[in-house]
């Protein structure tokens, strides 16, 4: 068997390969040769073979069959063998393989070897891939070596100790006594690794942190020596003496000074000195300044020092070097929370960075710009950010759009500006807008009542040209469905009204439905919008009927269901259609961030849901008014009960019912049941995927609880089917006197076995002359099966 080729030859051969396949072939041939050589147990060439194997492993080829060979090499007495063996162990073995434990004994012996180089190898390997068992066994040896006077070994032992602590944190105390003298060394290697060890210990254990605080003066002294000392060829990097050690010490000072006044004070001088004395012409100096700034920001430094730090960052921002600018933007982002005003001063430079060519810088500048937007600069910043949105890379557009929406919501100077900004975002980055932005936008639009005509007109114009951007089309179809009548009647104060006929509007909605680019959700929006227009438009109802009936046989199940139900609406329930498709009321926003808040809807109306529900409530006579009242009654219960998961169900339910109360104020309940009933189901549609009206139950007739002195209080009772022991009582109070009743408070008490929940009333003022009512809901839980419940009511009025 010829001698195996040397590593050098192998590398040369591999480099001649011109394709990946050729290379693979060569490597496979060599692997086969190596494997047969291993099988022959050849001691002389084992070292060479393993070296080649390691090279091939580095190129990405599997080399696991060499693991045992590494172990054999480690056990050998020759240094060259040991060296390659340990190297192989570091690269090929880790705690996942079972064989690694076999190394423990070898390492133990080598840690006590007479030659420092062998000891060094063993320390390196242990520090690189030692598992927790190995570390536990060998920690004592490492600790012994940490106290030795040989600096070559001491520094390696320190790094090995770091690894041991990472793997087995309980052993930290073992290394504590050895750390006493570590910082007294002159040798920079030992100093450096000791600082690393101390950093690791302080990060892991607050007790250690407290213990090592007393080292701050010593660290400060070392740092001072580094800065003040003259040129030392051994440690010089571009004119600065051992910058790596300086950076490490600064980092340790940061950890020690955090949240501690005394240590921070001890550091103030040295930090100021480093900040002012360091050469900034080379990258090295800037690296040290960067670390200094981070430290100043993190500890409890005095304000003068903080100002110095922000100024340094400002100088960095103006530097031509991209790396420095990037680093400055990153640090400013960290400090913008605490030192907002100081950072504001550099706002114009930051905004300029948005136009930079570099992707990393742009991203940082964008994040920082969002953090800097406030009430004063919102218009200017928005202009820049919108311009950025136009021109940035696609990976930024989603984040930028969300950021703009958030900022606009918080600081919008006027509703029109807000809507304009949103429109601009939708038209420029329409397809990148996140899905949850659509319901937010719709709610915003409904809230700005006076802008409806303007909004719908602009949206209509936007999708006339291009209806491929899904979020834009969704919002636009929703608005057209709601406010289509404003669109065709051409009333718009803010802008030139456009001439749009009903047919044109229906054309565009139909093209959205037909288009291949529209997502299924968008089609749903469009179909519902068309349906809503059947009440708003006058001449095109037949056309709408036709469209809706076509989609009754659509392949898309969602569309088909909607179409079928809308068809039914046309055919069987035509009398209810106007009521059901009435305009949505102003929605209250409960929180800005909650994705599952009750009141946020997806803008969808589900009159179809109502369709299937009237049968269950057939307890009542079949008159139209009663049907609708039942639905109103039903709708009282359900939002209150199933939405327990939100943290404030009471208030949310109360607000919803406030809205119901508001509706009541528009007219007394009996005379105009139709418009009132229409609205609550829409609100309740937003209750995500709740089978809203399954729980309708009636059966207890309403009573007039109190009728004296012009104050009339009606109770309506409902019992929930899902929870039969809960009865919901709706109180309506009306006032037939000539004066308003103010400060109306309703309290109730029940026997001990019952639980009572009183939700907030719609208002505390009952207007005079029966012109309005207050509504309040009480829930009574009766855990025992039916029994009489007495309800004591206390009415205070002024």
């Amino acid at each position: 068997m010829p001698a195996p080729i040397r590593l050098r030859e192998l590398i040369r051969t591999i480099r001649t390969a011109r394709t990946q396949a050729e290379e693979r072939e060569m490597i496979q041939k060599e692997c086969a040769a190596i494997r047969s050589s291993f099988r022959e147990e050849d001691n002389t060439y084992r070292c060479r073979n393993v070296a080649k194997l390691l090279y091939m492993h580095m190129l990405g080829y599997p080399a696991h069959f060499g693991q045992l060979e590494c172990l054999k090499l480690i056990a050998s007495q020759k240094f060259t063998d040991k060296r390659i063996g340990y190297l192989g162990a570091m690269l090929l073995l880790d705690e996942r393989q079972d064989v690694h434990l076999l190394m423990t004994n070898c390492i133990k012996n080598d840690l006590n070897h007479s030659t420092q180089y062998v000891q060094g190898l063993a320390l390196c390997t242990l520090g690189c891939m030692g598992s927790s068992e190995m570390c536990r066994d060998l920690a004592g040896e490492v600790e012994k070596l940490l106290k030795t006077s040989n600096s070559y070994l001491r520094k390696k032992a320190a790094l090995c100790a770091v690894h041991v602590i990472r793997k087995v944190p309980e052993l930290m105390e073992m290394f504590l006594p050895a750390t006493k003298n570590l910082l007294n060394e002159k040798n920079h290697g030992v100093l450096h690794t000791s600082v690393v060890l101390l950093t690791e210990m302080c990060e892991r254990s607050p007790d250690m942190l407290a213990h090592f605080r007393k080292l701050v003066p010593q660290l400060v002294r070392i740092l001072k020596n580094l800065i003040m000392s003259g040129y030392s060829p051994e440690h010089d990097v571009s004119g600065i003496s051992d910058p790596f050690l300086q950076v490490r010490i600064l980092r340790l000072l940061r950890i020690l000074g955090r949240n501690d006044d005394d240590s921070s004070e001890a550091m103030n001088d040295i930090l100021a000195q480093v900040a002012t004395n360091t050469e900034t012409s080379k990258n090295v100096g800037n690296a040290i300044l960067y670390e200094t700034v981070l430290t100043i920001m993190d500890i409890k430094s005095e304000s003068g020092l903080r100002v110095l730090a922000i100024n340094i960052l400002g100088r960095f921002l103006l530097n031509n070097d991209k790396n420095i600018r990037y680093v400055a933007l990153t640090s400013l982002l960290k400090t913008v929370q605490t030192d907002h005003n100081a950072v504001q001063r550099h706002r114009s430079t930051i905004v300029d960075c948005l136009k930079d060519l570099d992707v990393s810088i742009k991203r940082r500048a964008m994040e920082l710009s969002f953090a800097l937007v406030n009430g004063n600069n919102v218009r200017g910043m928005m202009k820049e950010l919108l311009y950025f949105l136009d021109s940035c890379e696609p990976e930024f557009k989603a984040d930028c759009a969300s950021g703009i929406f958030l900022a606009a919501e918080k600081y919008a100077p006027s509703k029109r500006w807000h809507i304009d900004t949103i429109m601009r975002v939708l038209t420029t980055a329409g397809s990148y807008v996140r899905d949850d932005a659509v319901p937010n936008l719709i709610q915003l639009i409904t809230n700005s009542v006076e802008m409806h005509a303007y909004t719908v007109q602009r949206l209509y114009k936007a999708i006339l040209g291009d209806y491929s951007q899904q979020p834009l089309v969704q919002v636009a179809s929703w608005c057209i469905g709601e406010y289509g009548d404003l669109l065709v009647s051409g009333q718009c104060e803010e802008e030139e009204p456009i001439q749009a006929t009903e047919d044109e509007v229906l054309d565009i909605l139909e093209s959205v439905l037909i288009s291949n680019m529209s997502a299924s959700v968008t089609r749903g929006y469009a179909l519902t919008a068309i349906m809503k227009l059947s009440t708003r438009f006058t001449c095109t109802v037949n056309r709408i009927k036709k469209v809706v009936s076509i989609y009754g046989s659509s392949i898309d199940v969602e569309l088909q269901q909607r179409a079928v139900e809308y068809n039914a609406l046309f055919k069987k329930y035509d009398h209810m259609r106007p009521a059901l498709l009435e305009r949505m009321p102003v929605m209250e926003k409960v929180t800005t961030n909650g994705p599952t808040e009750i009141v946020q809807t997806n803008g969808e109306t589900e009159p179809a849901v109502l369709e299937t529900k009237p049968p269950p409530s057939g307890l009542q006579p079949a008159s139209q008014a009663n049907d609708l009242l039942d639905l109103l009654g039903g709708s009282d219960i359900t939002p209150v009960i199933p939405t327990a998961p939100t943290s404030k169900p009471a208030s949310a339910g109360g607000e919803l019912l406030d809205l119901l109360g508001d509706l009541n104020l528009t007219g007394s309940p009996v005379s105009a049941p139709v418009p009132q009933i229409a609205q609550p189901p829409f609100l309740l549609d937003g209750l995500s995927s709740q089978p809203l009206f399954n729980d309708i139950a009636a059966g207890i007739p309403s009573i007039t609880a109190y009728n004296k002195n012009g104050l009339k209080i009606d109770f309506t009772f409902e019992r929930s089917n899902t929870n039969p022991s809960v009865t919901v009582i709706t109180i309506q109070a009306s006032n037939s006197t000539e004066l308003d009743m103010t400060d109306f408070v309703f309290q109730a008490a029940v026997p001990k076995t019952f639980q009572l929940q009183l939700l907030s009333p719609s208002s505390s003022v009952i207007p005079a002359f029966n012109s309005g009512t207050i509504t309040q809901v009480i829930k009574v839980l009766n855990p025992q099966k039916p029994s009489e419940a007495g309800l004591k009511t206390v009415i205070q009025q002024t």
Binding site: R12, L54, G60, L87, C128, K155, Y290, V359
Partner: protein, 123 residues
């Protein structure tokens, strides 16, 4: 903390790789290919720090060779940038003409095995 240290040439061939955390061997090649693609697509006047997945890449180009270091967010990027340069200078002094003498570099791979994330290389 340094996650990995790579030396890759312009054609995408790895000259040296050292991982300080366990990464599957097939994932390594993928990682290296992606990393070199990102570095190659940068122009000369763009900054040397790239954000990639959940760590940062610090890279430096020396003729046809790219030295790329992957770090996490606790590390000072500029210090690592300086470390790369220091490393290459040492190699240069030790082996003369580093860039073309990859052979000697590989042959003495045992020296580079002692690359802990902080080590005083001149010792």
């Amino acid at each position: 903390m340094i996650k990995f240290f790579l030396m890759v040439n312009k054609q995408g061939q790895t000259r040296l790789s050292r991982y300080y955390e366990h990464v599957e061997i097939n994932k390594r090649t993928m990682l290296e290919a992606e990393v070199i693609k990102k570095c190659l697509s940068r122009s000369k006047d763009q900054c040397s720090f790239i954000e990639y997945k959940d760590f940062k890449l610090v890279y430096r180009q020396y003729a046809a060779l790219f030295v790329v270091v992957g770090i996490n967010e606790t590390e000072n990027e500029m210090a690592v940038y300086e470390l790369i340069h220091n490393f290459v200078e040492v190699l240069d002094k030790y082996f003369s003409r580093v860039v073309s003498e990859i052979l000697t570099l590989i042959r003495n791979i045992s020296y580079f095995s002692k690359l802990s994330y902080v080590s005083h290389l001149r010792e």
